[in-house]
């Protein structure tokens, strides 16, 4: 089936929905999502959205910008960080105007709390910058944006899975998608396409990410010659529920929770004297690993304790009720009374599809845009998070850059004509689906995925070293070979989730390869990328962004400079 829209957005999380709202009446818009929009992973975000409102204490957007740049270990493009910090304030007010039920201060203003890496006066101490709604800020943001889309009659194609982008003569012409209900392949002609498909945490065994997060957008972009930027920078959030990876928000520490080792010691005092438990996530994750390696994990095992019991029952029930519910449900632990067992969990992709500050996708080191192709949210790399993302900055990223992408798309579609579709435009997508459905393969996609997740977690995790990363690259390539022989039991057309999981596995394998190759090449430690064989940050050789291309001869790497405006790189200590 064939559709024509001025703009098509893939992904109905925070960035996709915000862009859809911005497009407004500029033209016809369709939002495609492989899940019902309210199921998007934005809804799982807990801690808050960072903006320098200054409701509880003095705060300036310039401090937020600095914290973002330093938090990203100076790999952040500072022009992007400036926009993020500056526009954060108005986008948060806008969300509130749309009805977001923020928690409130006694005088009725949006309540804010401290969060990892957010400081006043350029690093002097923690500042209350995270605007929150209990511990379900993401849920409220997603719901509020979807409500506004309902109000504005935005057209949705729910449970449509993107298969391919369509490009002809260097211009975007649309995309193909698989309708999950019927198995039918749809072609969408469009002047502009926005990918807002979220993260790719399902490359790893222990992750906070939903099953749906398989990096669809970046993987498809890669297949069209678009490089992926900074893929080696993957954040491991320090506090996932042991073994399950379910996130326990940084807000627990924002409210006063502390991390303890076997000896009951608040070990973050040693690793980060100023910010302690509110140090940025990469620093805390490494600290936890080092404590575990030194034998100071709880009962000598691979986790530490997050203790919020001193906060008292009332604070726990008011401020972190969802967390308390998870702990009770999955661990039988009541955070008001006992500590929570936590360990690092694969959480966020700082890297992704390279874009400029208006969401336009860039093809090379010269920042040449591909007209009509946009990306926003976690799947994009502006780069506003650099080598490590601060908590609360993802929710801001979604609304600030989602809005900007929507705005530029609105401008673009009014100035551009449709490009004609390539002949046989459904070819690539159909061929892939056919091969999986009716090919003679017998490999199990689930087994391949399991092995992928294990090797990535073990070898390309918090601490990395050359031999291990190389082993991961080799293993991923073996798995890609086996993937060509995947067979399915479900050969039907109706709601064939086995087929979709196999397609998603293909994406994960490609992204894993790019991640591991990029990590192997970067011989320094910066932000979340930590090399045991190269433990120092090396600005002289490595203050640059990685661009990884997929070619017929494997992954090719190029580099481009970082935009540095206000803050010269300094050693990153807290």
């Amino acid at each position: 089936m064939y559709h024509s829209f001025d703009a098509v957005i893939v992904g109905a999380g925070g960035a996709g929905l915000r862009a859809a709202l911005e497009l407004g009446r500029a033209g016809s818009v369709a939002v495609l999502s492989k899940l019902y929009p309210t199921r998007s992973h934005t809804g799982a975000a807990q801690g808050g959205i960072g903006a320098a409102l200054g409701n509880s204490e003095e705060d300036l957007w310039e401090w937020h910008m600095f914290d973002t740049v330093k938090g990203g270990d100076y790999l952040v493009d500072q022009d992007a960080a400036e926009i993020l910090a500056h526009e954060a304030v108005e986008t948060v007010y806008e969300l509130e105007h749309w009805g977001l039920p923020f928690d409130r201060t006694p005088d009725g203003r949006i309540a804010q709390r401290p969060f990892g890496g957010h400081t006043h006066h350029f690093g002097q101490g923690p500042v209350r910058r995270s605007c929150y709604a209990a511990d379900r800020t993401g849920h409220m943001i997603l719901q509020t944006l979807y409500q506004q889309c309902v109000r504005n009659n935005v057209q949705f194609f729910d449970e449509y899975h993107v298969l391919d982008l369509l490009v002809r003569d260097g211009a975007t012409c649309g995309l193909t998608a698989y309708q999950i209900l019927t198995g039918e392949i749809h072609t969408f002609r469009a002047k502009a396409v926005l990918f807002a498909t979220g993260g790719m945490g399902r490359m790893f065994k222990i992750t906070s990410n939903a099953h749906a997060l398989t990096g669809d957008g970046p993987a498809i972009a890669l297949r069209h010659g678009v490089p992926l930027e900074d893929m080696e920078f993957f954040q491991f959030h320090p506090t996932g529920i042991r073994k399950m990876g379910i996130l326990i928000t940084e807000a627990v520490r924002g409210e006063g929770g502390i991390l303890l080792n076997n000896e009951g010691e608040r070990f973050m005092e040693r690793y980060s004297p100023t910010l302690r438990d509110l140090a940025p996530r990469d620093i805390v994750s490494r600290a936890i690993y080092l404590e575990i390696q030194a034998g100071r994990g709880i009962n000598g095992q691979d986790y530490v304790n997050l203790d919020a019991s001193h906060l008292g029952r009332e604070v726990v029930e008011a401020k972190i009720p969802d967390i308390a519910d998870f702990c009770q449900t999955y661990l039988g632990v009541n955070p008001a009374v006992e500590p929570m067992p936590v360990q690092p969990t694969a959480h966020y992709a700082m890297g992704g599809i390279p874009t400029d500050v208006d969401g336009r996708v860039l093809l090379d080191e010269q920042n040449t845009p591909l007209p009509g192709f946009y990306a926003a949210g976690e799947c994009a790399c502006v780069s506003v998070h650099g080598a490590n993302r601060l908590g609360t900055n993802s929710l801001v990223d979604l609304v600030v850059f989602g809005r900007r992408a929507g705005r530029d798309m609105a401008r673009f579609i009014t100035q551009t004509d449709f490009a004609s579709l390539p002949p046989d435009c459904e070819c690539l997508a159909c061929a892939e689906v056919e091969r999986l459905l009716h090919g003679a393969g017998s490999e199990s996609a689930a087994a391949i995925r399991r092995e992928l997740q294990e090797v990535m977690m073990d070898n390309v995790g918090v601490f990395r070293i050359e031999g291990q990363i190389q082993a991961a690259v080799d293993k991923v390539r073996q798995l890609q070979e086996r993937y060509r022989r995947v067979g399915l039991q479900d050969k039907g057309a109706r709601f064939n989730t086995e087929l979709l999981e196999a397609i998603e596995l293909g994406y994960l394998l490609d992204l894993a390869e790019v991640t591991a190759v990029s990590a192997l090449a970067r011989r320094e430690s910066r932000g979340a990328h930590s090399r045991e064989d190269y433990p120092e940050r090396d600005d002289e050789n490595w203050l640059k962004h990685t661009l990884a291309y997929r070619t017929d001869n494997g992954v090719a790497l190029k580099y481009k400079p970082v935009s540095i405006t206000r803050f010269q790189p300094k050693p990153r200590t807290y």
């Binding site: 899940l35 019902y36 309210t38 199921r39 998007s40 992973h41 809804g43 799982a44 409102l53 948060v92 007010y93 509130e96 105007h97 749309w98 009805g99 039920p101 923020f102 928690d103 409130r104 201060t105 006694p106 005088d107 009725g108 203003r109 949006i110 709604a133 209990a134 379900r136 849920h139 409220m140 719901q143 509020t144 409500q147 506004q148 309902v150 109000r151 209900l181 939903a210 099953h211 749906a212 399950m244 379910i246 969802d322 519910d325 998870f326 449900t329 999955y330 199990s444 689930a446 087994a447 399915l488 039991q489 479900d490 039907g492 057309a493 109706r494 709601f495 064939n496 989730t497 086995e498």
Partner: protein, 233 residues
């Protein structure tokens, strides 16, 4: 431990009617039912269809009927289920395939009650102020994740699919009682219908089903009371 899952299967394109299929899985007591379903799908029978995403009770994808109670598959631990577990799709919704139901009617009803803030005044340059007490008033109903467990557990809904359902009323309540909203009367108008709030017979199944522990029946009752005694100005 070994557990037998008795799962309702049905592919309307192929099967004449739903049927049961049993699978035996090896699980830990702390595994979620979702983990057991994945084991079936990934190891034994790839044709089994079910929705899921976040796997920790926030996205609302995997609401289903487990041992006759509506739950989220990712929030139920195997420890509490016993050696034989019955798994069925939510009742009252057309079955798409196996445990996947057609959620379109459910979302249509949600959309019908104007589930967005209505305020006709121009917004201030900063946030609208809201007293913490007013914020607390809507804390319960803002927790709804639209999973469908409540509506799917409601005998009034089973008896009449036109009933707008508990979830839609909860979502309306969330705005009606939001001190910043001015659209209460518009929504009350919509709900003041035999298929609106008045279909509710105060059965309380919804309260038992809600994975977010929202006091659904109370919320419905409060809307009824408004309609009976005191329209908001």
């Amino acid at each position: 431990m070994q557990v037998t899952l008795k799962i309702q299967r049905f592919n309307p394109q192929v099967d004449a009617r739903p049927y049961w299929k049993e699978y035996t899985v090896e699980v830990d007591p702390s595994d979620r039912l979702l983990d057991a379903l994945h084991q079936v799908k990934w190891v034994q029978d790839g044709t089994l269809a079910f929705r899921r995403s976040c796997a920790h009770g926030i996205c609302g994808s995997d609401a289903m009927t487990i041992n006759n109670v509506n739950r989220l598959a990712c929030k139920v631990l195997m420890a509490g289920l016993g050696p034989k577990v019955t798994v069925e799709p939510l009742r009252g919704f057309p079955i798409v395939k196996d445990l996947v139901v057609d959620m379109e009617p459910f979302f249509d009803k949600y959309r019908s009650i104007k589930p967005y803030l209505i305020n006709y005044d121009p917004p201030p340059p900063v946030e609208r102020y809201q007293d913490p007490k007013d914020r607390a008033r809507i804390d319960d109903t803002t927790r709804c994740i639209l999973c469908g467990a409540c509506t799917g557990s409601c005998p009034s809904f089973w008896g009449n699919r036109e009933y707008v359902g508990p979830a839609a009323i909860v979502q309306a309540h969330r705005f009606i009682f939001d001190s910043r909203d001015q659209g209460a009367n518009e929504r009350l108008e919509i709900l003041n219908d035999r298929n609106g709030v008045w279909r509710c017979r105060t059965i309380f199944n919804c309260v038992g089903a809600c994975p977010r522990e929202i006091d659904v029946t109370r919320a419905i009752g409060e809307v009824k009371k408004l309609l009976l005694f005191n329209r908001m100005v």
